[in-house]
């Protein structure tokens, strides 16, 4: 990437693979289980976190020399909550339909451990530009996993993708269903999200032995 120095591009690329917030750091699992039953919800969540984490990291980084360390966690929480509320209110006024889709996620974004984790671990000690890249990178790493999990859960659980039936109609038995295929309703339940994430972790570690911890 000519646009970014090597060190900077690492900030974006690392969380996408070898330092992924979900599969390696095991952060943000709660929301990854809760909302990945549909691909659309996964995408909306990924974009919201991208926005909040990118902007939040910038704000925290700007304030990093002013924040008293005793109350830094509260300050971080206030910053996330404020950003989320601002986004929510603006959407409610100008994109009402979208805001209704997002309503479920507002609480989940505020409590997402990745956001607090990046504020604490990165933005408090780094400059604005690098913090922004770090935020974007981590949110993208989170989003990629969410979208992969959402893809498999919606496809296998409901036989649809983004709401469009791709495998035929299960009630009228067309497409794959004509051959006796059945949706796996179990995929729609949260435990299966954990299993899909587990399979991703397994896959990733088997490709890259450096990720396996020594006991």
């Amino acid at each position: 990437m000519a646009l970014l120095s090597r060190k900077d591009s690492k900030l974006i690329l690392d969380p996408l693979a070898d330092n992924n917030p979900i599969t390696i750091q095991v952060l943000g699992i709660c929301s990854a289980l809760a909302i990945t039953a549909e691909l659309k919800a996964s995408i909306v969540m990924a974009l919201s976190v991208l926005f909040v984490l990118g902007l939040g990291n910038v704000v925290i980084s700007l304030m990093r020399n002013m924040i008293p360390s005793k109350i830094r966690i509260i300050v971080q929480l206030v910053v996330v909550a404020t950003l989320v509320i601002i986004v929510d209110q603006v959407l409610k006024a100008f994109a009402y339909e979208l805001s209704k889709t997002l309503a479920v996620f507002v609480g989940l974004i505020i409590t997402n451990c990745i956001i607090m984790g990046r504020f604490e671990a990165f933005a408090l000690g780094n400059g604005v530009w690098r913090s922004f890249l770090d935020g974007i990178g981590n949110a993208a790493g989170y989003g990629v996993i969410l979208i992969i999990v959402g893809f498999f859960r919606e496809l296998l659980g409901s036989g649809t993708l983004l709401g469009f039936p791709v495998l035929g109609n299960p009630i009228e038995k067309t497409g794959l269903y004509a051959m006796g295929y059945e949706n796996n309703g179990f995929m729609l339940l949260s435990p299966m999200a954990l299993i899909v994430v587990g399979i991703l972790i397994w896959f990733q570690r088997s490709r890259n032995p450096a990720l396996i911890e020594e006991n």
């Binding site: 039953a37 002013m66 008293p68 109350i71 206030v78 404020t82 209110q89 479920v104 009630i171």
Partner: protein, 248 residues
């Protein structure tokens, strides 16, 4: 000033609260008119949707009347807005803005609730649209139900605050809502409601007088919430519909 001193910490906290508080307060008051308008349009769209005034195609997604024309459509199709308060029935053009949740809370405390009914006319038929309100798995669920005077369902609209996407959230999908059309609320002359049940041997919903519709997989509690909501809130209008029938 020392960044770690107590005085600095307290000052920082106070300043932060004031700044954040005023930003949010300013935003809330600046946008509240626009947000209220959106909510008003949404209510009108939902009421019209229940009585079949919408832009649905044969199959697929829920399509409301566009917000630009909803106000005009609402005044065209909804001919009367009534408020039932005990035995008294009054006309009120703002009845659709009544917060049904507040009225139900009032009822719990023993007061007489104000219950709105919207009378709609479409293609020579008369619809009576009633609001519903109840609890799903995580938070509130609500909706509107259009009935004829024999309490046969002509259409419903459900919505929810925070049901699980892919599971309970599907109560606002057409394949669930459309099942209610044609179902009867009454069983003979008794009030029976409509139950959302699993495995009722009627998944394509051909039997319309069984007071049952097929449940959503993986959304048992949301489905039970819908049953409870119908039996609780639509029941409040039982006497009103009986008086309609007695009038002939």
């Amino acid at each position: 000033m020392n960044k770690e001193s107590n005085i600095y910490t307290v000052l920082f906290a106070c300043l932060m609260v004031v700044v954040v508080g005023s930003v949010l307060a300013y935003l809330a008051s600046a946008l509240s008119a626009k947000i209220k308008e959106n909510e008003r349009f949404e209510k009108q769209q939902n009421i019209l949707y229940a009585m079949g005034v919408n832009q649905n195609e044969d199959e697929g997604s829920v399509n409301f009347v566009p917000t630009e024309v909803v106000e005009r459509e609402f005044s065209t199709y909804i001919t009367e807005q009534l408020v039932i308060e005990g035995d008294k029935i009054t006309k009120d053009d703002q009845a659709y803005m009544i917060d049904i949740k507040k009225e139900l809370d009032k009822m719990k405390e023993g007061a007489t609730p104000k219950l709105p009914v919207f009378v709609g006319q479409k293609d020579g038929e008369t619809f009576y649209i009633v609001p519903m309100y109840g609890k799903g798995l995580w938070d509130a669920i609500w909706g509107f139900m259009a009935l004829d005077k024999d309490m046969v369902v002509q259409g419903v609209y459900f919505d929810h605050k925070a049901e699980t996407p892919g599971l309970g959230a599907n109560i606002k999908q057409r394949y669930f809502m459309d099942d209610f059309t044609g179902e009867t609320i009454l069983n003979g002359s008794n009030y029976a409601g409509i139950k959302v049940v699993k495995g009722n041997n009627d998944p394509v919903n051909e039997i319309k007088d069984d007071n049952e519709v097929d449940a959503l997989a993986g959304a048992t509690i949301t489905g039970n919430g819908v049953s409870a909501m119908i039996s609780k809130t639509v029941n409040l209008y039982k006497d009103y519909f009986e008086s309609l029938r007695n009038q002939g």
